[in-house]
Symmetry: C2
Subunit: 243 residues, 2 copies
DNA sequence: ATGTGGCTGTGACGGGCATCACACCGTGCG
DNA sequence: CGCACGGTGTGATGCCCGTCACAGCCACAT
């Protein structure tokens, strides 16, 4: 059902074709029906703040399409990206489960569709369907693993170039298929984050990211044209990473 | 039931008096009986490695008494402490849930009792008793929150003194009650970690920790005698912390 | 006593990176 | 068009803190 905005909206969870590839959504039939009845679907433009760090948790968002950036900010305004959430993830879960304020600010990186479920209804939903709490556990497990990776990335690496190389390599695991591309070592990826955001991800400053990327380009390891970046020398980047 | 080692062993989960104050253990009667039948209790000396990072997850440990240190290590040998787990927590959960290798190395910090439950039996236990998966979700939530705190601590603070002050303050939330102590601003805490371990916790080097603590002592903010430390000027430490 | 091993204190040194500052470039908008 | 604005590139500067080196201390075993 493409809309005027050329955006496909998934109205009915039961008919959602992506379901089985998603972290959370692949639930038994009855649970899905219930979910369908308690969810509120909306489409949000890029840059929407779904959750605000520190605010009381109103409920969770299930991201149907799009991606979102989870970040946390210090009182001085310095902020760091916790992770990028993909479609099919539940956001605001930690806060909703423990009835505490949102841990992170969630901002959509693309036009996104999400199902909102209020705090109370979600907890009831959870208790009613054991399969749902299993899924919740899996989502939380995923969150933990991402967080541990981030800790390793920031805490164990020796230098900023290493951390940036690591980021590039992790992105390179989901490469872009360029149509007329001959077989080669080249890995094309789409990077929509700004250098400032990459800096937040790597726990460094914007300028340093710029310098490091220049360095990579100068060494012939990387080519950047707009939002499509091409990793030219994966082994070299890998050698930089010790973790 | 004090043993020859003057160590109280909890044989029967159903009779455990600590249960209701614990993160995981407060389960319904039937689940507890089942737990009782599938667990294997052991007592481990200080310094035992319960889980090894990177090894296939054999199952989970429920920590009955004692505390344990969760850490992760880079290939270069640099390592960082993820968190300190308290009695009542389930360890090895992330790995067991996602059937992946252990994320962290778990080392007992004190003589500790723990219940081991094998991988398969735990997952079956989980599916059988919905209340258990709720508890698992709560444990995972706790893990996430700790991880996020660690990320904030390492990624957002501007200096090592700030991070160490933060650690001290977090420990000061569970003060020691000194018997003959008059009312005062002084907060006594028990610190069993070495400076090297504190360094791992704060993502810095042992020497820097030593220097920072010296500094705090010189300024009259802190007094250290063996394993009992006394925070003399909490506000000063708080002022150092911006996160 | 003597050795050994783990923990702690302190000095010296130097490099990596945060910070400030400013120029450049494309895009959108009045 | 001219302007503002967000993103990017790059130089200069300085300092925090990691690293190396070594000494002192304590507990414990021989």
């Amino acid at each position: 059902m493409p809309t005027a905005y050329n955006f496909h909206i998934i109205q009915d969870c039961l008919k959602c074709t992506f379901r089985e590839h998603r972290l959370f959504c692949d639930l038994p039939r009855e649970a899905l029906s219930k979910l369908q009845s308690i969810k509120a679907t909306s489409v949000y433009p890029k840059g929407t703040l779904l959750c605000l760090e520190g605010q009381a948790a109103r409920g969770v968002y299930i991201l149907c399409t799009g991606r979102a950036k989870l970040s946390t900010t210090s009182s001085e305004g310095k902020s760091i990206i916790l992770r990028i959430a993909e479609a099919g993830e539940v956001l605001g879960l930690t806060a909703t489960m423990s009835k505490t304020p949102y841990e992170a600010t969630v901002e959509t990186l693309e036009p996104s569709q999400a199902n909102f479920i209020s705090h109370l209804e979600f907890l009831r939903f959870l208790e009613e369907y054991p399969a749902v709490s299993m899924k919740v556990a899996q989502q939380l497990t995923h969150n933990c693993k991402c967080a541990y990776n981030e800790i390793r990335s920031i805490g164990l690496s020796n230098s900023v170039p290493e951390r940036i190389a690591k980021l590039l390599l992790s992105w390179a695991e989901h490469p872009l298929d360029l149509p007329g591309k001959k077989k080669s070592q080249e890995i094309a990826i789409r990077v929509t984050l700004t250098q400032g955001e990459i800096a937040q991800f790597a726990g460094t400053s914007r300028e340093t990211v710029s310098r490091v990327l220049s360095e990579f380009k100068k060494k012939g390891w990387l080519r950047i044209k707009g939002a499509t970046w091409v990793v030219l020398n994966k082994p070299a980047l890998e050698q930089l990473v010790t973790t």
